[in-house]
Symmetry: C2
Subunit: 425 residues, 2 copies
Amino acid sequence: MAKQERKKVIVVGGGFGGLNCARRIAKNKNCDVLVLDRRNHHLFQPLLYQIAMAGLSPADISTPIRSVFRKKDNVRVLMAEVESINPETKIVGTSAGEFPFDYLVLACGSEHSYFGHEDWEDFAPGLKTVEQAIEIRRRVLTAFEKAEASTDPDELRQWLTFIVIGGGPTGVELAGALGEITRFTLSHDFRSIDPSAARVILVEAGPRVLAAFHEDLGKRAKRDLENLGVQLWTNCRVTDVNAEGVKIGAEWVQAKTVIWAAGVKPSPLNKQLGAPTDRQGRVHVTGDCSLANAKNIFVIGDQAHFEDAKGETLPGLAPVAIQQGKFVADLISREIKNKPREQFAYLDKGQMATIGRRRAVVEVGKLHFGGMIAWYLWLLIHIYFLIGFKNRIFVMWQWFYSYVTYKRGARLITERDWHSHAPRT
Amino acid sequence: MAKQERKKVIVVGGGFGGLNCARRIAKNKNCDVLVLDRRNHHLFQPLLYQIAMAGLSPADISTPIRSVFRKKDNVRVLMAEVESINPETKIVGTSAGEFPFDYLVLACGSEHSYFGHEDWEDFAPGLKTVEQAIEIRRRVLTAFEKAEASTDPDELRQWLTFIVIGGGPTGVELAGALGEITRFTLSHDFRSIDPSAARVILVEAGPRVLAAFHEDLGKRAKRDLENLGVQLWTNCRVTDVNAEGVKIGAEWVQAKTVIWAAGVKPSPLNKQLGAPTDRQGRVHVTGDCSLANAKNIFVIGDQAHFEDAKGETLPGLAPVAIQQGKFVADLISREIKNKPREQFAYLDKGQMATIGRRRAVVEVGKLHFGGMIAWYLWLLIHIYFLIGFKNRIFVMWQWFYSYVTYKRGARLITERDWHSHAPRT
């Protein structure tokens, strides 16, 4: 075999797509891989709501990206922000300098979208990063503390009203966990709070929750949530959010704690690619996940708009990102050996969402079911896919402990400022 | 027995002193106990350096204060800031309203003191709260990331120079952990960093580290630290700190990461008591830990200046606070039964500090020793005193894992701001 020229592959983003792509390419010893992320850690997004709900600690579901590639000498990891991409010169500009590439894989994921109402973020944080999860945890736990100290019934009701906006899987998981907390935690740990004053409201603009799931499962989730005391307000459009609460249609609902789980938008990096984007801002990619105008640049996961053979757009789910990441890695390895490109085909292995302590809904092809078996399956799959042996043990133990005791392991309120002389709120 | 009037006891502070006091008083069914803290959690301070050094997660060493009293119906816990204390009317004013007391126990601990140079805090954060520990972790981990991305040798050296100011137990533990990280973590996870460029400097104004320990142990600690590559600069007084580094005497030492472990001052609440304080600001208390001018107000732990029978001032250590807390609880219970007060006597059970992975120094009465046996003893005692069964298992597992793999479990960098549109540094 003739000696091959080494290829430079840059992977941007250490999420599900980027990490799986880089791990696969790293096996090709003819490639030098550079992984760039503005974070130092891979975050297991599906369990992020557990940090917000004080069930897990950030480190339980995070792995340093460079630890993942500890033993891969052909992989370099840099914590840096990508600032520019030049498809012609094949150079990525970052906060840590410029890097040339032969192949570039963009897997930068998505962030929250407030559909033009960015000022709502202060009052209704979203749940995409560890920091946001900790902020939500701080707000939820503080609300209980304030309620316990409150002597005014109106104020008490405001502190004990929790509104989750958006009835997708994240919204359902958050509302379910909140329902559980208000039902079980309140009665034991607090002295003054009247549990009947606590309300958890899940607001959804569409006619039902879990719209992406089979209708049966939407109904099932509705019933499970209602059993946990969660009120489902479907067909309700949020028209304003402020420090006092949420405006739904023309009516204000007072609540001190509001969480946003209603929409995402892709990385703003997309604007730099000179490629067409869809209404949400996702880049249109061709059947091999590359850009039409730059065949050596690939965009995968939440950042891309991919239409399958049937003309349907793939959803922003972890399995899509993982499969695309591996597909692109294999494509690059094949192309280096002068083999032709193939087309990406998504293998739908199903989707799931959990509701509270031991309810979940699972959809696999035509099969769909809920209840406790679904929850065990959910648990099993989530623990299996957690990266890192130690984290798996930890998370299992945490769950087992919470399950048996109804306690939540990470119930600490941390302030936003670290200064010792900072004013405390 | 005649029916006794119920007594109102307020305990301010959920640290070692306050928590032990409140737990003991709670056993007396004739007392109603109110525990006030501006935090919702008890923090196991002796392991706080492990959060800063990415070995543990905040939740591992924190317990919600109200969980501790979950089953004690005569204890109420409120998260509130004490704003005023009126010894005459016997009323405590807080951010959550006013509360009358028969007995008041103040156990508010201490915070950092920069000896009048409060502006140094930005450049050299101290280690007293979870937030500060996370900030130090952020700075230390970011320094390695910046070093990995750096191409300028001068800049590289600055990122890889870590200065710890203060040679007490906290400073020694931080420097030891940093020595370990630079020695073992660098070589495996990073590609570009030259380990020989990394420096950890422990600066101490006095002639030796661990001044409160026997001289032999100071020497032992020095040797152990030097084995980990830590440079000990004793008799060195810090005269200035800024973003570039530390000025020692007349010379500037460039370092991007500086940690303050040099001094503490008691809670500012002391100024409100109308009682005499010492030079550090600690309140002078009488032999039964009460104020000379208000016998029903007790001040314990780091907040108090207590002179024992020999005229020696007790040090700011956890065992002092714990013993005083229990003593005051018993005193109150006895006094309610019209029994006379006794005088507090500190039973010195010794002190210890750990250096790196498996070295420690232990001093028990006249016995003092170091090395691996000391480390096992240190480990055993710290795990034993951790409150909460779950936390003990967690911390043991974390340690075991780190010990075997040399990995650190909580290596994630989190930002200070949670907004999705916040600028990233």
